[in-house]
Amino acid sequence: MATQTVSNLMADLKDGKFVFTGELEPEKTTTLEHALEAARKLKGYVVACNVTDNPQSFAYISSLAASYLIQQKVEMEVIYQITCRDRNRIALFSDLLGAGALGIKNVLALTGDHPTLGDTPQAKPVFDLDSVQLLYLIRKMVDEGKDLNDNPIESPPQFFVGAGANPNADPIEPELIKCAKKVQAGAQFFQTQVVFDLDIAKNFLKETSRYNVPVLIGIFPLRSYGVAEYFDKNVPGVKVPEELLEALKKAKKTPDKKERKQKYNEINLNYFANFIKELKKTTSAAGCHVMSVGYESIIPSLAEMVK
């Protein structure tokens, strides 16, 4: 396996720093206005930002093109998300070479949501590979400089390769074994789905610590009570803790908009600073992946508080 340091994310994780990564979700756009603005806000506070690949199967701008533009225009290192939903192994390989050529250093290999979940449910799902097989393909390109059929690549790409994981999975055993398979296939870091419950995070970190692969726990600061309520009701497997939900509900009643915003900020900072401090103190977590699309403003204060 390649040990050469290829990205800032990899360097920080190697140095044992507690890292933050952010998330950018470019949508139906060619200018990427929102994503670029968000990237500018996050710059300096996160080491790199994920660029999502048609999340929830909504048809958006290509994550490869967006990754390149964000890196170019904001000089923010990206974690290029690539899913198996829309591409067969030829297209995956081809996009990965493209990513290498465009100077992308981190790749997150995912299976992807099913088209039935998104805004184009009529689409034919591809899923020629699954996430484990995709990891295998990427490592083969990077480590051996070959495609799946052993054809050589002229100057192979160098990537730091990550995988997703779901600490909330119920049952958890098949997910844990799958994580082991991802490590075997060559995953060099994990970013998890959103976790609110410290015990769930701790348990997952305990179970995966033996792999010696850095794990970034996914967190989701809640911009408003509305977002929290939506999340709680509509994202299966993720429960927003009662206390947090209650506090946000109370804050919602604040009539003054500015004051209300401030209260929301306080609640989030309080909850997540404690959460992160506890992670830092008692677990092997390598950092946090902060999914705060539309709520980037919270990250600087949060990062400051947990220093």
Partner: protein, 220 residues
């Protein structure tokens, strides 16, 4: 078994619009079991068509219309009625319709939608269970097929869309195939099969379509 469902009557009548004389062919195997093309359904269809002003020149339930030999055998004595008709209404699966087209050389109208290769729990309860992928891997997966029962055809375990053992596709109503597989292999003491990496499937043979198996070439 090949699971079929009758098309809406309006759709059938629309296809039959140009024809006044119709001959009906049913299927004595799958469509009989599904109650979509057995004796009873063929009879009912004949009644319906008559009411709609069609002349039904005759009907027959072929033992298995997808088998050219049985099709020839069972239609032989109906030759005249078939010839008199302008169109054949096929209450068979798609393979049956195409065998009929090829051998009886008449305009043929499908009366059924061919849904899937499935298991019959009871009449009115059918479950897709095989996609005829060409290389059966059921031994490795505890007898539960991930190709057909996992909407993403995952090969190495559940995706992130699994919740309480249910699948994100179809609104968490159906079991996640990979949780079923995991539980089954665990029960059997065969978890090593779950733990081992499954490489990407080789589609190179599947890609050559249509698939044919010709062990002894017949003279045509």
């Amino acid at each position: 078994m090949i699971i079929t469902q009758q098309k809406p009557l309006e759709e059938i009548l629309k296809m039959l619009e140009p024809f006044s004389k119709v001959f009906i062919i049913g299927c004595g195997t799958c469509s009989t079991v599904c109650q979509t093309g057995g004796e009873e359904q063929v009879e009912q269809m004949a009644e319906t068509l008559k009411k709609e002003g069609k002349e039904v020149t005759g009907s027959v339930v072929v033992e298995a219309p997808c088998d050219a030999r049985l099709l020839r055998r069972d239609t032989r004595k109906m030759k005249k009625a078939i010839e008199e008709s302008e169109a054949l209404l096929c209450m068979t699966c798609g393979a049956g319709v195409q065998d009929i087209v090829q051998h009886l050389k008449k305009i043929s109208v499908p009366a059924l939608n061919t849904k899937f290769l499935g298991q019959i729990e009871r009449i009115g309860e059918f479950y897709e269970r095989c996609r005829a992928c060409g290389e059966c891997i059921l031994y490795e997966t505890g007898g539960i097929c991930p190709i057909v029962r996992c909407p993403k055809g995952m090969m190495n375990g559940p995706c992130g869309g699994m919740f309480e053992g249910k699948c994100e596709v179809g609104g968490y109503q159906r079991d996640c195939a990979w949780v079923l597989i995991y539980n089954r292999l665990k029960e059997l003491g065969m978890l090593d099969l779950y733990k081992s990496y499954k490489p990407p499937r080789d589609n190179s043979q599947l890609n050559i379509q249509p698939r044919e198996i010709v062990l002894v070439k017949t003279r045509r």
